[in-house]
Amino acid sequence: MKKNKFRYFIAASSIAGGILAVAACSKFLDKTPVGTLSPTVVYNKSGVEGILIGAYSLLDGEGGNGGGWGSAASNWVYGSVCADEAYKGSTPSDQGDIVPLETWTATSTNGYPSGKWSLCYDGVQRANEVLRTIPLAKDLSADDIKEFTAEARFLRGHYHFELKKVFNNAPFIAETVGVDTKPEEVANVDANGNYVNIWPQIIEDLKFAADNLPETQTEIGRVNSWAAKAFLAKAYLFTADYTNAKTVLDDIISKGQTSGGKKYDLAAFLDNFDASKQKDDPEIVFAAQMSVNDGSGTSGTSNGNYGDVLNFPYNAGPGACCGFFNPSQSLANSFKTDANGLPLLDGSYNTGSLISGKTSPYAGNVDPRLDWTMGRPGIPYLDWGLVPTDDSWLRNDQGSNGRFIPKKNVYYKSQKGSLSSTENNWAATQLTANNVNLIRFSDVLLWAAECEIRIGDPEKARTYVNRIRTRAADNTTWVKMDNGNYADKYKIGLYPAGSFNDKTYALNAIVFERRLELAMEGHRFFDLVRWGTASATLNAYAKYENQIKICYIYNSLQTFTPGKSEYFPIPQGQIDALNADGKTNLKQNPGY
């Protein structure tokens, strides 16, 4: 009967359904995660290799926890803007968090240090994850274990080194630290409430890497023993252990080579900042590798140099955004040279006319590195033409940012679209394949010179410094106008024999050489703190800038507070989290 058919249909489907429900019940609620890797899939050699690459990938300062411009690999904010090298740039309130940093009034709720803190500890834990995974992967040879361990410990040492430089009192996080670790087990203070010094652990990691890594690697971005040694020497230098530093540095200078197998040497100065040349340059001891148009550009945490995307000319040229990181007038002035081509070590560079001053600009000799360090009005800006003299490449509409624009992180017009991104990213035109050079060989030579002055042979120190100056004196690399003339009165000379016998003079010369050679590369602030001269130098700088009123930030006098301003505040959110139980496990830096 027709009607009954329907009844049976419903009954039958209900029965079928009921049976299905019973059959499916036990598995129905088990959903396997898709698009991810369960731990067992990575507990093998290729898995560990992948996790190691993941640990490298934060060298560019972006991609993990934290991030943003506060964690830029170049340290442009902490190393250069907070020192005497550059102004924040842009309009006054743009990236307002940099303002208190630049004027040494930042508080612990500032977002920039917080980004650096998180990113570096993410790097630490990614390196730790390699160390934790190695024992779980059963197909590793003894050589694999040695190699992976050494690379991971190098990276862990590096990330801690960054934390140490910026925050000083950051604790060391070993591979034993995980979800169950209690705050008191990772305190930055001991039982007596004194800060714990982590230099020994950083040095131990770097030393392990130096002792266990091979001299060369098949990939040039992978750390080798010599790069690890350079970091080790730097750590010794930061702990004023000149004896150990000198031993390692001598070794590096005589035998060191790049991961690609090139003996360390000075390349042409400008090649260090050219993505088409720098990657395998004999001068690059270790760099954060950047790549563009690799499919990561749309992700917001691309593999290009996102940390420096703000640091381009405004509205024109290679950039179109955002007008940050403008070299300071003081920095430009320091490139003045005397009749012998030597810098004005007595500090007189700030007296008299200004380099590129709007009225009666300085007309004397300058170090040729000036025009590879910054864009100046009327001077060729790589192959982008002359920097306009009306300052239209600067973002001066809401207050002046001086007259200079950054250059070392900028690509050539001929590289646009190949070494700069064309991906769908808001800052595509400023996203570059330019590496951030963490250690250049000239940096190594100047450390060695410093060691020689302090505990060794002044003449050897002079030789090191002159080696760098000789390179800069190669007039084939000087900036030229279209007509083939040099763009300015370039003059650079060597320190004469015996001039370094006066240790004070010599040390001053080395300090100054570092300023000229490594300007705008994020090292200056940490050097000043290491030398104990930050307060004197930066307060003098602030005073001078306040007098000339070229940058709006210095319209009122800023002061660097010795004993406080040398380090940046530990993020308040972290202090609140770690001390939630009422005990001081994470103690704020002095003065904050």
Partner: protein
């Protein structure tokens, strides 16, 4: 084994079905009769006729007649029909029965569809708000959730003016920091109100407390909206409903400076900073000079480079000279991009029923153009609902809805969209340069804003299309007199497809040489739901019993992909395909699919004694795939009771009291909130940006890497909501006044919260699992009342008011958290505006409290030490009284949650005329006018400024100013921190709609075969009364899925634009 036992009921259920559906009825007799209306003796079609206490029944046909086979022992039949009082008739012999139904004046007998079942309103013990669908439909809108606003007590809705934009819908406050969206059930299947054709809606009920919603278990914690769509009823008819109208942009806009005022502000800014004013456009000297051209910068007529022959289009390069004239009066950017826009909607439906079947069929076309250029919602939809009575005791049917829509949207509430650029783009900039290319901030010295007109025009050819299907098929069997078994299988499949083109915005200061790019993507969302229920219904003397048991399985599966390329040879839309872009720039991505499964068993008992004492109990057992095996199942019970006091003898004599019921309940709900579907597992991730690295130094490729992406937690389980509800329903004054008032408390415990590791960032970037920790508590009062007034037989009116109040308070947070700062996705330039902290409401504004501006140096000196303190800057409150303003002086200074929101519907009919009005308001909420950050501080990017900044900012000669000193410095005492300067009162009262209609006399129409013909004119958003100085105080969250922060104005697509419509409703 535990898992198996949970499956047994489903098995039993199936077996039961087999046994019962094949059983035959015996010993029957046939009765027949006719149902008429007592008013005019007209037949009542589609009235329900059932044997009392059983499920045996039928419906009357179009002539009001019925026949029914009843058991020989049946004594009484019950006749019910909407709009009439129920009638009970004794069965005597086999004579035809004639039943005359009296019209009801109260809605107590109204059948209300609740969870898996239906109840008479008078029997309800839980908290259920019944929406007046006619009132609701009177508000024109493209989305159905938006018009729930003010229509049901306990429901808060926050809308925007974006066509097809989403709304924040909250039932009884914010119950989760993640999604607080209620569950929407359409014809028994989970669905969405967003794309529903409102004309298809028959009824909407909102289940608010645990008593009502516990039957939905873990999906009910945010409340449940139960929608029933129309079914065919009575004789066949065709209806046509349509309106067409125009929406008008706000006349005022943002109240910004014109060109000379803008220049003046720049001059004030420099002078106040002790710097000689100098500007690329306005020159230097004592006062600004407005140029004739902005490119070349600051040029006068006849200057070098202004000859059109000198025009060079070469963005970013030295020879570029895109000559553009200054707009000396000032471009009104707001009104350049907001234009009057059309709205229209047409629905044709056909419906009808016989005693064996009913059908409802409708098609709808909706076209809502946005007042913002190139924003629109176009939707085409169709619905077919049918039910067939195969035998007296078997029904099968389906509900099906399909739609297709085109709805390209903007990112509302965001600093970078065109709306925000109208207050950022300087007024001196014209729309076009002299050659008809866009002009913009690429001209020197004019900030970094984007030309908002160009921004919207470039959206023109973008596509965003979605099509979806939803609905179910079902079968019902009545058996053994008292039982009904029902099975329903349904769900939703939705696909979206979109593409957009990013033009090179050559006219702007930023990104003017970026490569163009094309992005194309698609997503797939699916969900099925299989529900089986068995109902038992019996009346034994004064005992009225209803029992329901059921099982339900649900499965969700979503995935999406997107790809892009750059460097398109031409921007012509005809050229846009993924293949025609530069292959070296290609990029593609796919999300991990979202998978979720639920399996549930539930039961419900409703009992009433003598229609006086009501008792109801519900239990649901839910299992979810998002938890580990051992913590997967949860039980969610509730108990409610009611007492109809008016039925007691001692109140029988009280003539003014028609009905009085008190009710109360307690119950437990659950939630999975927005927990990650893979929460139990520790997983490694990979991502091109996050974990790839160019280890080989290649410049353009990166090696794949992995990272530990998340730690799993196998102990995580349900979030639990305990809800207590006490309510009172009354009808008084000869059924003229109905009201209902309820108090509730909702305690949410074991909040699913992403753990903060005790050791903070030391754990690295691995995401923490969600754990059960932290509590939120909401309390509130819902009130609604309706007054039915009759002035004369010609003049009648109805007034309905609703009032919703909630107080949400964070009770505790997980260990390790003292507070959580909540940044907004709209902008985070001055950090988080909101802090979640125990003792505070969700969304509370946190920062420095501004006492005023420092008047002078003396004021600075006598005040607590404050970084960068100076006359004309903010004076902050020293909250801890230590004489120094520091981070520790930040405080809670505002609450975006209103004290209450209210709606008032007024309906008047006079002869053939009708008039209705709807008012909605929000009282006592604070809002943040973040627009001021951009327009009151020229040092913030230097875009346009407000008139207030020009005329009311601090000067040495104007120390009683309201706006801080215009200056070049940005610091702690002006713009770099969040302060109460941005806070304003957000209360408002809005006339949401007002309309006058006229129904043509039916006698005339009948001649043309028309049953009903009504025309009306309408004004929506006629006025808004508020003290808020921005566009509109109705401010939804910048991310609708995140309830932690809202009430912040980033330049909102205003919801208060006037809209004038004419409409028609015809029935054949």
């Amino acid at each position: 084994m535990r898992l198996k036992t949970t499956c047994i009921p489903a098995c039993i259920f199936a077996v039961l079905l087999i046994l019962t559906t094949s059983s035959a009825f015996s010993q029957q007799k046939k009765i027949s009769g006719k149902v008429t209306s007592a008013k005019d003796n007209s037949p009542v079609a589609f009235a329900s006729v059932t044997v009392k206490g059983t499920t045996i029944g039928t419906n009357t046909d179009a002539a009001g007649e019925f026949t029914l086979n009843v058991p020989s022992d049946a004594k009484t039949i019950v006749i019910t029909s909407v709009g009439y009082l129920n009638a009970e008739v004794a069965i005597s012999g086999s004579d035809p029965v004639t039943v005359s139904l009296k019209e009801t004046t109260s809605n107590l007998d109204e059948i209300v569809v609740t969870g898996y079942t239906a109840q008479k309103k008078k029997d309800i013990t839980g908290s259920v708000a019944v929406v007046n669908v006619n009132n609701m439909k009177s508000v024109p809108s493209g989305t159905t959730e938006s018009i729930l606003q003010g229509q049901a007590a306990g429901v808060t809705v926050i809308n925007s003016g974006a066509p097809g934009g989403g709304s924040n819908v909250r039932i009884r406050g914010i119950t989760s920091l993640g999604s607080a969206d209620p569950l929407v059930i359409i014809d028994g299947v989970q669905g969405s109100l967003h794309d529903l054709n409102v004309n298809d809606v028959e009824s909407i009920q909102v289940l608010k407390d645990a008593g009502a919603a516990a039957i939905y278990g873990i999906q009910g914690s945010n409340g449940v909206i139960v929608v029933t769509t129309k079914k065919g009823k009575g004789k066949s008819k065709i209806t046509y409903d349509a309106y067409i109208g125009t929406q008008r942009p706000l006349s005022k806009g943002f109240n910004l400076a014109n060109t000379s005022e803008y220049a003046q502000a720049i001059w004030m800014q420099a002078t106040n900073s002790g710097v000689a004013p100098e500007h690329a456009q306005f020159g230097s000297g004592a006062s600004p000079v407005i140029p004739d051209y902005i490119t070349p910068a600051g040029a006068k007529e006849g200057d070098a480079g202004t000859n059109p022959a000198d025009y060079v289009f070469d963005p970013g390069q030295a020879d570029d000279n895109r000559i553009a004239k200054a707009n000396k009066a000032g471009t009104d950017w707001f009104h350049e991009i907001f234009k009057p826009a059309m709205i229209q909607s047409h629905t044709i439906s056909a419906s009808g029923s016989s005693d064996k079947s009913n059908y409802y069929f409708s098609v709808n076309y909706l076209n809502q153009e946005g007042t913002l250029l190139n924003t629109y919602l176009k939707r085409y939809s169709a619905r077919i609902n049918t039910t067939f009575s195969v035998k007296n005791n078997i029904r099968i049917g389906e509900n099906a809805y399909v739609y297709y829509k085109q709805n390209p949207s903007i990112t509302n509430q965001n600093e970078g969209n065109a709306i925000s650029n109208t207050y950022r783009e300087p007024p001196i900039i014209p729309i076009y340069d002299i050659m008809g290319n866009f002009a913009g901030t690429g001209s020197d010295g004019l900030s970094n804003a984007a030309n908002p007109y160009a921004q919207q025009m470039r959206q023109r050819d973008n596509k965003s299309n979605t099509w979806g299907m939803s609905g179910n098929v079902f079968g019902e069997v009545d058996f053994l007199k008292h039982f009904t078994a029902r099975t329903s299988f349904g769900g939703t499949v939705e696909n979206n497809y979109y593409y957009y083109f990013n033009y090179t915005a050559y006219e702007n200061a930023e990104g003017n040489t970026s490569a163009n790019s094309f992005v194309e993507g698609s997503g797939y969302r699916s969900q099925w739901l299989w529900t089986n229920t068995l109902t038992y219904n019996n009346v034994i003397g004064d005992h009225n019993i209803k029992v329901l048991v059921g099982s339900e399985a649900k499965n969700v599966y979503n995935r999406a992909l997107e790809a892009s390329r750059s460097n398109y040879y031409t921007t012509n839309p005809a050229y846009w395909t993924l293949g025609t872009g530069d292959p070296s720039t290609q990029s593609n991505t796919g999300n991990s699919p979202y998978q979720l499964a639920l399996f549930s068993l539930f039961g419900r008992v409703d009992y009433n004694y003598a229609d006086k004492y009501l008792l109801s109990g519900v239990i649901r057992r839910d299992g979810s795939s998002v938890f580990s095996k051992d913590h997967r199942y949860g039980n969610f019970p509730s108990v409610t009771a009611g007492w109809r006091i008016s039925k007691e003898e001692f109140l029988k004599g009280v003539s003014w009291l028609n009905e009085l019921k008190i009710r109360g309940g307690w119950g437990k709900l659950g939630s999975i909130s927005n927990i990650s579907a893979t929460n139990p597992y520790s997983l490694y991730y990979t991502g091109a940006g996050n974990s790839y690295y160019d280890i080989s130094g290649s410049n353009t490729s990166a090696r794949q890497g992995f990272y530990l992406g998340q730690y799993g937690n196998t102990n995580t389980t349900w979030e639990e909501d305990i809800v207590t509800n006490i309510g009172l329903d009354a009808t008084i004054l000869k059924n003229k006044l109905d009201f209902s008032v309820e108090w509730y408390k909702k305690s949410i415990s074991g909040l699913l919260y992403q753990l903060q590791f005790q050791i903070g960032n030391y754990i690295g970037g691995t995401a923490a699992p969600y754990v059960n920790s932290g509590n939120i508590q909401n309390t509130g009062i819902d009130f609604s009342a309706t007054y039915h007034g009759t002035v004369s037989s010609d003049l009648k009116f109805d007034i309905t008011g609703t009032l919703t109040s909630y107080k949400s308070k964070v009770v505790s947070l997980p260990p390790g958290y003292k507070y959580v700062d909540q940044t907004s996705s709209g902008s985070s330039r001055i950090g988080a505006f909101v802090r979640t902290q125990p003792g505070q409401p969700i969304g509370a504004f946190y920062g420095y409290e501004v006492l005023g501006l420092f008047k002078d140096d003396a004021d600075v000196n006598k005040s607590p030490t404050q970084d960068a303190a100076a006359p004309g800057r903010f004076k902050y409150r020293d909250v801890n009284g230590d004489g120094k303003i520091s981070d520790a002086d930040r405080t809670f200074f505002g609450n975006p949650n209103p004290n209450f929101t209210y709606g008032l519907n007024l309906a008047v009919s006079y002869k053939n005329f009708d008039f209705s009005a709807f008012f909605y308001g929000s009282q006592g909420n604070d809002v943040i006018n973040y627009v001021k950050y951009w327009t009151d501080f020229p040092q913030v990017f230097g875009g346009n400024v407000s008139k207030a900044a020009v005329y009311n900012s601090w000067l040495p000669t104007r120390t009683n100013a309201t706006v801080p000193k215009l200056e070049q410095e940005a610091n702690f005492s002006n713009t770099t921190v969040f302060s109460s300067y941005y806070k304003e009162k957000g209360s408002y009262l809005r006339c949401k709609q007002m309309q006058i209609g006229y129904t043509l006399p039916s006698a005339t129409l009948r001649r043309f075969g028309i049953d009903k013909f009504r025309i009306y004119v309408q004004a929506a958003n006629l006025f808004t009364i508020t003290k808020y100085t921005g566009l509109d105080p109705e401010l939804q969250a910048s991310d609708l899925g995140n309830n932690s922060n809202f009430g912040i104005d980033f330049g909102n697509y205003p919801a208060n634009q006037k809209n004038y419509n004419v409409g028609v409703s015809v029935t054949f």
